[in-house]
Symmetry: C2
Subunit: 551 residues, 2 copies
């Protein structure tokens, strides 16, 4: 395998651990008993064995403790996030420290590997190839949901065969919810298999009082901010383009907010705010056009706008429109057949005539290309594929129309040329920053301690993360503590509460206090690429979001 000089040098990096994990052994201190964030009675009923467990924190001890051999299986679930390999090497090193005969197995291709009995042993040779690297390629990931009893039972089979005492599931909110369902079932069935979760997602929406951040968010935001900063410098040099940049992250706007705090763009839309204000698409467009016009009046016909990927679904009228389209064009409905029988040239008009009055107005306001796309590209269930909507191009087209109107009315006299970008895949598998390398390794190491102490239904937790790593606080949080009941596919389900951007939270307020200045003045900041060596303030700092939240 050919490796780049950075890959080779970076393999030698020894991630920093919290003090409590650097001693000979760990003593677990039970904290208070916990309750779920909401719907306590419902959650307790669904999780009789794993509800109400105490918070756990670790203290280092000099005692040498002999522990029996424990084998562990690890699973990567869902989308990639920088640092997954370090979670696994943290688990591995933790297990080997507990007992050199402990073994670590990786289930291949995501949760499906547990069900289908696809696995490999992760030996030191394998682990050493992946330390401090990005990607999930060590064992692959997958999106199979562990939700059914037969899947759980198949899982036990392979655990018994390999003498596995515990399974670690590295995933986002849904995967950790399922990890807890699995933990509960394995306890109830007395299988002797523990389940521990680890909080992963670049989206930043898996966090709460006990989980300060999910891993990967730091690195991904740094990569996006590097690119945004480079584009800003180009915009400010060429002085002729508006760059509309869409950022990955389906529901929450944490990535956009963090990148805005790092780079100070002229515009950054926050989906949660658009929803809270019940803004229409037209209102969003007008707001953008006004910023563009104001800058043009200052002679600056350039700028940078950040757009969260999930925006469309947060605009109430678009949500309604999409839901109506899903009904109107659902496979098998009479209306869908009628639509198909309509000549192509007349279809947009046909659709507009079959929507509610309000939705019809919205639909007619869309550029033809986007309107067509909404009626054509559907997922296997016949639903509009919201993730395929090129929001950045939609906004450019509508802003162009708006600016033309404003020019006509005499309220805009600039020129508008645009470039569009979408950043997502560029950041999900970047090699982890020092912060993520340390954090992930600590999360993994913590998981091994929770396992050794017989814990199940816990999420690995490392807190106080804006302090230097040795002051981080490692421990465990009962997954049930983060749950509430939500409607999913028509049924009430226990799920981990998703953390959206809080409009009264410190990161948003810090942004809101500055955005008008950033809109008008060119206040760009150029973060540059992630540095692994160099001054600590350059290479060890974590996100502005975390720093603001913990101020």
């Amino acid at each position: 395998m050919t490796k780049s000089p950075l890959q080779i040098a970076r393999a030698q990096y020894a991630p920093k651990l919290p003090k409590s994990l650097r001693n000979n052994s760990v003593v677990i201190v039970d904290g208070e008993k916990t309750q779920s964030v909401a719907d306590q009675a419902d959650i307790e009923k669904l999780f009789p064995h794993t509800y109400g467990m105490p918070l756990l924190s670790f203290e280092g001890s000099d005692a040498s403790v002999e522990l029996p051999v424990a084998n562990v299986g690890v699973i990567l679930s869902g989308g990639q996030a920088p640092g997954g390999h370090n979670v696994i090497s943290g688990i591995f090193d933790g297990l080997k420290k507990l007992n050199p005969n402990n073994k670590l197995y990786g289930f291949l291709g995501g949760p499906g590997g547990l069900v289908d009995h696809k696995y490999m042993e992760l030996t030191a040779d394998v682990i050493d190839e992946y330390r401090n690297t990005g990607g999930f390629d060590i064992i692959g990931s997958g999106r199979t949901k562990l939700e059914e009893t037969w899947q759980f039972d198949k899982g036990v089979e392979i655990c018994k065969e390999l003498d596995i005492n515990a399974v670690v599931i590295i995933g986002g909110d849904d995967s950790n919810t399922n990890a807890c369902v699995l933990a509960e079932y394995y306890l109830e069935q007395n299988t002797g298999v523990q389940v521990i979760g680890c909080p992963k997602t670049i989206d930043g929406d898996l966090k709460n009082d006990m989980i300060e951040t999910s891993f990967g968010f730091d690195t991904a935001c740094k990569v996006y901010s590097e690119l945004i900063g480079n584009i800003m410098r180009d915009a400010n040099s060429a002085k002729k383009y508006w760059h509309f940049i869409k950022l990955m992250g389906r529901s929450a706007s944490h990535i956009g907010l963090e990148c805005a705090l790092q780079t100070q763009p002229n515009i950054c839309l926050i989906s949660e705010e658009v929803a809270e204000k019940k803004q229409t698409l037209g209102a969003v467009v007008t707001e953008m056009a006004n910023v563009i016009a104001k800058r043009a009046a200052n002679g600056e016909n350039f700028g940078v706008a950040l757009i969260p990927e999930g925006l469309i679904e947060f605009i109430p009228e678009m949500k309604t429109l999409i839901s109506e389209l899903n009904d109107l064009l659902a496979e098998g409905h009479d209306s869908a057949n009628e639509f198909k029988a309509t000549p192509k040239a007349d279809r947009l008009e046909w659709v507009a005539n079959h929507l509610s009055d309000a939705s019809s107005v919205v639909f007619r306001s869309l550029p033809a290309g986007i309107a067509t796309q909404l009626t054509l590209d559907r997922d296997p269930h016949g639903n509009v594929q919201v993730s395929k909507i090129e929001t950045e191009k939609l906004l450019i087209e509508m802003v162009e129309v708006k600016l033309a109107e404003m020019k006509e009315a005499g309220s805009y006299a600039g020129s508008f040329s645009s470039q569009n970008h979408f950043f997502g895949y560029e950041g999900r598998c970047a090699a982890p920053s020092n912060f993520d390398a340390d954090y992930c390794y600590s999360i993994g190491f913590t998981a091994s301690v929770l396992i050794a102490q017989g814990k199940t239904g816990y999420m690995s937790s490392v807190r106080n993360t804006t302090a230097p790593a040795e002051e981080w606080i490692a421990g465990g949080v009962p997954v049930t503590m983060m749950m509430n009941m939500e409607r999913r596919h028509g049924h009430m389900k226990p799920v981990i509460q998703k953390a959206l951007v809080e409009l009264d939270g410190k990161p948003f307020l810090a942004f809101a206090a500055k955005r008008d200045e950033w809109a008008e003045m060119t206040s760009f900041v150029y973060p540059g690429p992630i540095q692994y060596w160099g001054p600590s303030e350059v290479c060890d700092l974590t996100t502005k979001t975390l720093i603001e939240e913990r101020k």
Copy 2:
């Protein structure tokens, strides 16, 4: 101005100079008299004063030399490239070393600033804000071409007013050609204003025996390779997407080739090879589809393909098609009016019927969206806007059609899902790598020495660049030496020969020797982000292209 931690720390970096520039003063050693690369008689006739000058190399001297005050004007010309600010700080420091009373002026917004007398003095305070940063925002850039005598005369006016002895033009091949025309004219007119060029372009196509590389190429390719590597890691983790990545660079494929050498993709198209082999668009598509099918047969339904931005113009049949379309739809032609009078739904058919037989076949083979774009988006001269063609999407659509045919025929049994990307603006204004920071600073410093020695019509040259910086060889190259005569807009003109990828050159051969292996096996390399600190083999190495060329 808010600055990122990296901006603050990086401002302290002291670029490394060649040994000859570190002494008290410089002695210039005349080398051999030079000739232009071709068309010697024509070039000599056009450049009677600046033709045939000797190569110059520098030697350091301990002598302290008192030189009269010299004021210099500097111009940034054309597209941004990382390191422009370091060229300027190199000129500044060089001038101040020669005589602390020397002044540096920046002409604003490109060559137009010289003509329109827009300028600012670049004092130490200004320069210090921009050391080791990306972008051209210190004085801005522009695309005005200095070609007319009245422009030259306006330039002399402002030079006289500000007591400017020399103008440094930082630009690509065209800008340096014009710099030489200006030098010749100023000599002939006995204005006393010298002109020095500096070789800039991320495209990598301004190079020859004496100019080993143009600045910015190293940094831009490293940024693109970082992103390509991250996407490769994602592709190899998710194992479900083919990523088609278009890379900026209008004519030559140096960027694609360099990125391929750094990252080992499954496919990298080289425009010069496509032209040499006279490949059709269909042949290119088939070649890509065959690689995809071969990987699918190995169970790998994912991969990465690199596509040079200029590809379309190197495919002979596409070049012909575009030229026919330019004639057919030229503003004012009867045929263009007939086209406009044709109902939209019938226009593609109308166009196909009005092309030559060969071009008609090509046109009909294009996806409807692209065909429509070719007939609609035109520049102010009525020409097809080749740079707006989304080549990456065109190839994806055509590959999909080809794979469907192959599936039908039983020669392909995989699944093909794609993502498309275009990387350009992400790299042009990145903060320069250590190599570019050093190289640019040395280029600028060298320019100041050439000026002090009364030289004109020279390009600043720093060679032996794969050795450590102190062994670099600084000097000057007569611009006329790099010229030949080429047809431009119907007239023969003296221009600097553009360096395309040489198919018998070492970088291409190194790629060609490995590409079949890279196509089939997953051999991705992950270069990671540019590092400014850390092991020298990580942060000081330059491009694979340069290393191969100088092997």
